[in-house]
């Protein structure tokens, strides 16, 4: 493998393999910092809030939510779709970028996948909560009629969603765990006492032998190939929840691609939010570089533009369809009582990512952080706009209504963010947050050190080995007719 020196380095500074191990293992082997404790306390308080509001909802019933007979689906499904969408970036980074051989994914895939799993857990809490009687959640599974209900209806996109989300969650966990094995083994080989036993158990006895690496790479590649259509199918099916209905504003064929692009858009924003903090707190700036941030911003720019085009297409199709109901649904979105939600969505999702065209902005950490929050707010409003504005003024003007979230609704949402960060902070405390083995793989060819060495020797050919030493050919030796591969 030889990489052009023109490509920007993926590892900056001068770490060797041992430094990578040290840097990644540091948060696991030392007592957590003050920042971690503060973050964890806040997140855990949020989680407690979630427990309380979830318990209250279950005890009293769904009447404690702000739903009414016109808007029968609002806050919970908004948050569900928001969380599932956020999850998609992790799979995109770990699977799609692997298929496209984008090596910059190597240092961010671990935490992005963790984010996927935790986001899907948060999404799942809404599925359970909105059932009202969570102890009957098993009714969603295809169980014989004797279990209380009939066989499930396979014509319903909601049941497809049950299969899609559960498959997505379990396959993501498997992919994540297999990727973790070599790194858990690294932690195991450094640990002592009880920690050694725990990590030894988790590593399943990984030996890093040549054969196991071959199988490891094969499995990673095939799992990526499977996860890529899977991640596209999941948000497609989520969009079917709406698109297969006959509600104006939902009944559109543009939904699947539009939802998938939006999911990746919001997911990358969340990855930015998390990583910008994590790289600073965990001191991983050499592995998660400005270049990584810039590349992710470009993904945000591309997917944000797709989302923008989708919004405009929706408006155009509503007008062009000539269907009064459809036209009114969109007129109501733009200028009805929820106009502020629509325009928040438009500003956050269409205008803000366009600023990423400016190189100075997309390489600025503070600006990226602000935009990542703005995008997440915008994508939350997108789901809110799609769901609530399409429902609140239905076919019968006498039943038109507004949706107002109650305190329980808001607590559940804040609580789910608490749950997410609780899990994420535990993850960075107990598991290696950067895929060490995969970053070590890059070190020889893609690091700043390797590239500057090559530049210094004014050199363009692959290093060779002679007598137990690596020889870097200089221009002089190449002229003599040695290999000149690029």
């Amino acid at each position: 493998m030889h990489e052009s020196i023109i490509r920007k380095p993926l590892v900056t500074g001068t770490p060797d393999m041992h430094t990578i191990t040290e840097d990644v293992c540091r948060p696991l082997e030392n007592p957590p910092s003050k920042a971690w404790w503060i973050g964890f306390s806040l997140a855990f308080a949020g989680f407690v809030l979630w427990l309380v509001s979830f318990g209250y909802t279950t005890w009293v019933g769904l009447g404690v939510w702000g739903l009414n007979k016109t808007v029968g689906w609002a806050w919970d499904i908004t948050n569900f779709v928001w969380w599932v969408g956020i999850g998609h970036a992790g799979t995109l980074i770990s699977a799609v970028l692997l298929l496209f051989r984008q090596n910059w994914r190597n240092s961010i895939n671990r935490s992005a996948e963790a984010m996927t799993i935790f986001a899907v857990i948060c999404a799942a809490t809404y599925i359970i909560a909105h059932m009202g009687r969570p102890w009957l959640a098993y009714w969603a599974f295809p169980l014989p009629n004797q279990f209380g209900s009939l066989w499930v209806n396979f014509n319903s996109p909601l049941i497809w969603d049950v299969f899609a989300i559960s498959t997505y969650f379990s396959v993501s966990c498997l992919f994540w765990f297999i990727g973790l094995l070599p790194d858990i083994a690294t932690v195991r080989d450094r640990a002592t006492g009880t920690r050694k036993q725990v990590y030894s158990f988790l590593s399943l006895g990984w030996t890093s032998s040549a054969r196991s690496w071959i199988r490891f790479e094969t499995v990673s590649l095939v799992l990526s190939g499977l996860s890529t259509p899977l991640v596209l199918s999941v948000h497609t099916i989520v969009s079917f929840d709406f698109a297969t209905s006959v509600i104006p504003g939902w009944h559109t064929t543009i939904f699947p691609p539009y939802f998938v692009a939006g999911a990746i858009f919001s997911g990358f924003a969340m990855v930015q939010t998390l990583l910008l903090v994590a790289r600073k707190v965990l001191k991983l700036e050499d592995y998660i570089t400005i270049y990584h941030i810039e590349l992710m911003n470009i993904v945000i720019l591309v997917t944000g533009s797709i989302v923008g085009v989708a919004y405009l297409t929706e408006l155009f199709m509503a007008w062009y369809s000539g269907v009064e109901y459809e036209q009114y649904a969109f007129l109501n979105r733009v200028s009805g009582p929820y106009w502020w939600a629509y325009w928040t969505m438009m500003t956050c999702n269409v205008i803000s990512p366009q600023m990423m065209w400016v190189k100075k902005l997309r390489t600025s950490i503070i600006f990226t952080f602000i935009i990542s929050i703005v995008v997440n707010i915008g994508m939350w409003f997108e789901r809110f706009v799609i769901i609530v504005t399409s429902l609140h003024r239905d076919y019968l003007p006498s039943s038109w209504a507004m949706f107002y979230p109650t305190k329980v609704d808001v607590s559940l949402f804040i609580g789910s963010i608490g749950l997410f960060f609780t899990l994420f902070l535990l993850f960075i405390r107990f598991l290696p947050s950067v895929a060490m083995a995969e970053v070590k793989l890059l070190l020889k060819h893609s690091s700043e050190e390797a590239k500057s060495k090559l530049k210094k020797h004014n050199h363009v050919a692959e290093p060779t080995v002679e007598g137990g030493k690596v020889i870097i050919a200089t221009t002089a030796t190449i002229k003599k007719g040695e290999s000149n591969e690029q």
Binding site: M1, V222, S233
Partner: protein, 171 residues
Amino acid sequence: MSNKKYAIGLYDDQDILLQGIKEVQNNGQMIHDVYTPHPVHGLENVFIIPRSRLPIAAFCFGCLGISCAFLMMWYMITYDWPMDIGGKPNFPIVSFIPILFEWTVLFASFGMGLTFFLANRLIPGSTPRIMDERATDDRYVIAVEVNDENEQTVSSLFRQSGAVEVKYKTV
């Protein structure tokens, strides 16, 4: 358990490692295994390892998954209890597609994952035979089974080819 003695050569560079493997093999020594902190591309060409057959396993499990999904849905909605939902057909093949796909992926992934665990003997609680603990950190390790005869040859081969350290381990 029989006690086997291994000579272990530790290298600090992947290219030197590949050269080392070549030299050890060219001198007629059988390499027990190579341990590396990260996948080394090109290693399989030097230390010959057959291509993994895991993708075949994945394909077979995928076929099993799609068949199971089809049988399940057909049994439930067509055969066992045909439901009339809005007058829609009882054998809606198009509605089956999403779940057929999901179960193909589910079975293929987990089938291949479990095969991977078994093929690598990755079992919870198993004690791995660790040649050198730095093989998961920053050393590339070649292990050769040795006896009194070839011990010297192997260790000098390691040294000549650029090993930073040579050790012995009895397992």
